[in-house]
């Protein structure tokens, strides 16, 4: 302890010590606040895995839904999800990236463009069930597509479109303006500059954002229920004009069954399957992001 002679001490005492003590305690309280939801999720996840493990086997993955819990499986849910996601990707990615390119590279810098940008960020905040209502009215009933994979994909595509546009815009903006200038100074047109330089440069960011958006679509339930995709589907999908179901819808179905019927392990197992898929997708996105961050 330093003593500067005239009674000056550098150690806290009295009121200052009290304030310091509060501050030190606050570190642990705030850390607890931060990890509490994580801990809760881990605990719930562990419970689910241990319950679902009993049901998870090859039969479960290859059986159709059934009134008997032990025989019910997620075969049609997996296929339906893959089909609807595939079509969603095919619709949403070109339109999303195209819109982002238009906004960043071609749109005139005026109020109309600003309104379009504002509109997109508002669409990002629209609840998914409203996209479901839109799909019901416009695609299922209006266009007559019915409660099919086609309608489902259109709804999901519209829902994740704002996400893709916003993250793609961000990725395009990260390309250094010096590259753009260098290309234009050589007499390349705006599109040539975009195609040969800006798009390739932004691709990692665009892919990351897109994969996150797909993962969001994979977990969506409400919008698909609204367009009528809660049918009891006991066949393999082979075309986009068929009724379908997805794993989240199956989880919803089984969750609401009375406890006595024994569907809870089914729901748990289906959750495990879904989470493996979602985590895998998110991991891919993160890997892409980190690999190209180092460049």
């Amino acid at each position: 302890m330093t003593d500067f002679g005239a009674g000056v001490r550098l150690r806290a005492a009295g009121a200052v010590a009290r304030r310091q003590a509060f501050s030190r305690i606050s570190y642990w309280i705030l850390l607890l606040a931060t990890v509490l939801p994580l801990g809760l999720l881990l605990y719930l996840g562990y419970d689910t895995i241990s319950e679902g493990w009993s049901r998870m086997d090859w039969d479960f993955l290859t059986s159709y839904p059934s009134r008997k819990a032990e025989q019910a499986g997620i075969r049609s849910s997996i296929l339906g999800l893959v089909w609807v996601l595939g079509l969603t990707i095919a619709i949403a990615i070109p339109i999303g990236i195209g819109t982002a390119i238009w906004l960043e590279e071609f749109a005139p810098k005026n109020r109309l463009t600003a309104l379009v940008k504002l509109n997109i960020s508002n669409l990002a905040g629209v609840p998914s069930i409203i996209y479901g209502i839109l799909g019901l009215t416009v695609f299922v009933r209006g266009a007559g597509f019915g409660p099919t994979i086609l309608s489902g994909a259109l709804v999901l595509a519209l829902m994740i479109l704002p996400m893709i546009v916003i993250t793609s815009q961000e990725a395009l903006r990260q390309v250094p303006p010096s590259i753009r200038e260098g290309s234009l100074a050589l007499g390349a047109t705006r599109w040539q500059t975009v195609w040969f330089h800006i798009l390739p440069g932004a691709m990692p960011g665009i892919m990351t954002g897109t994969v996150f958006a797909i993962s969001r679509a994979a977990g969506e339930t409400a919008a698909l229920i609204m367009i009528g995709a809660s049918a009891f589907v006991a066949y393999d999908n082979t075309s986009v004009f068929e009724d379908f179901t997805t794993i989240p819808i199956q989880i919803y179905n089984w969750t609401l069954r009375p406890t006595g019927q024994g569907f809870q392990p089914n729901a748990s197992a289906a959750i495990v399957a879904l989470m493996i898929g979602v985590i895998a997708l998110n991991a891919v996105a993160v890997v892409i992001r980190e690999r190209f961050r180092r460049d």
Binding site: R19, F106, I120, N122, S128, I133, L134, T189, T255, L274
Partner: protein
């Protein structure tokens, strides 16, 4: 005099003549513009669909009935009543109780990440928090009904106090879902507070807690408020957790252990049922949907305005 041998007229023509060398470029720009137009069309479709059918609804049901603060919501069975106040109350119930949990934990996390964590800790913990946003809401719904209500609340407080469908279970999982949103946006707001402010405060002998609570938090307040508005908007729009765990019984109550139905829960119920087109039951879907849309839209716009004004302050 210009360079000998230059055919100036030919040069002028060449400088102007590119339009026809690259016709493909016009097609591409047209396609890109069409993509952007699709987003505008989507909003137009949403508004047209929602408000169009709502208009039809108000031909059958008086607007005063809909907004009557003392009415009840009883659609799909007789006697019918269409006062949206009960559904709004259900939504308000889960919003309130989820915020009771989410605000302290979310803001606490934001403060910890921004002011206390070392950059190594932050790099580990922050992505872990983002994982919470990636979990599908139907999974949270399952957790709420089976584990929280069944395995914890009912054994703890007794099956008479806790109905199978109650707001508390839903609110807890809604809080878990929304904490990362509050934490991440608030943390960004705090990180944007100029370092000079921190240094000045520390230089005056403030403790870390005091700097965080008395200097940084107020300075970042507009960003924090924006994050709360966005979080509330997301909770209002969330469907699966409340539809599964909170119930399908409209109830004018803010008590957490009551069964309630939110606006979104009702909309899902209509979607699952077979209300015939053209009936007030079916049209009520759009009336409630419009109410929901207006609320979330207003909150998002308010949050956006606060964020842009807050950016002006620092530039």
């Amino acid at each position: 005099m210009t360079v000998r041998g230059t055919d100036t007229e030919k040069l002028r023509a060449e400088l102007k003549g590119r339009r026809f060398k690259h016709p493909g470029e016009f097609v591409i720009i047209f396609v890109l513009t069409a993509c952007a137009a699709a987003t505008v069309l989507t909003t137009a479709a949403i508004i047209f669909t929602l408000f169009g059918e709502t208009f039809t609804f108000f031909k059958d049901v008086s607007i005063f009935t809909f907004f009557d603060p003392r009415g009840e919501w009883q659609a799909l069975i007789d006697p019918r009543d269409y006062a949206v106040i009960e559904l709004v109350a259900g939504t308000a119930n889960v919003v309130f109780w989820s915020m009771v949990f989410a605000l302290p934990l979310g803001l606490g996390a934001a403060i910890w990440l921004s002011e206390y964590a070392s950059s190594r800790s932050r790099r580990i913990v922050k992505p872990m928090l983002e994982v919470l946003t990636g979990v599908p809401t139907v999974v949270y719904a399952f957790f709420a009904l089976t584990f929280v209500t069944q395995d914890v609340l009912r054994p703890l407080l007794g099956a008479e106090t806790v109905p199978i469908f109650n707001s508390l279970a839903a609110s807890l999982l809604l809080a878990v879902m929304i904490i990362p949103t509050i934490a991440s946006i608030s943390e960004d707001a705090m990180a944007n507070v100029p370092q000079g402010l921190r240094e000045a405060a520390y230089g005056l002998g403030a403790t870390r807690l005091e700097v965080a609570s008395k200097v940084i938090f107020p300075a970042a307040l507009s960003g924090i408020i924006a994050s709360v508005l966005l979080a509330v908007a997301r909770v209002i729009g969330e469907t699966m957790i409340v539809a599964v765990a909170a119930g399908s019984t409209p109830n004018l109550s803010l008590w957490p252990l009551d069964t309630v139905q939110t606006m979104t829960g009702y909309m899902l119920q209509v979607g699952l049922g077979d209300a015939a087109r053209g009936t007030p039951d079916y049209d009520s879907l759009f009336a409630v949907g419009s109410t929901l849309f207006v609320m979330t839209f207003a909150l998002n716009v308010a949050a956006g305005m606060i964020v842009s004004r807050f950016r002006e302050e620092y530039e």
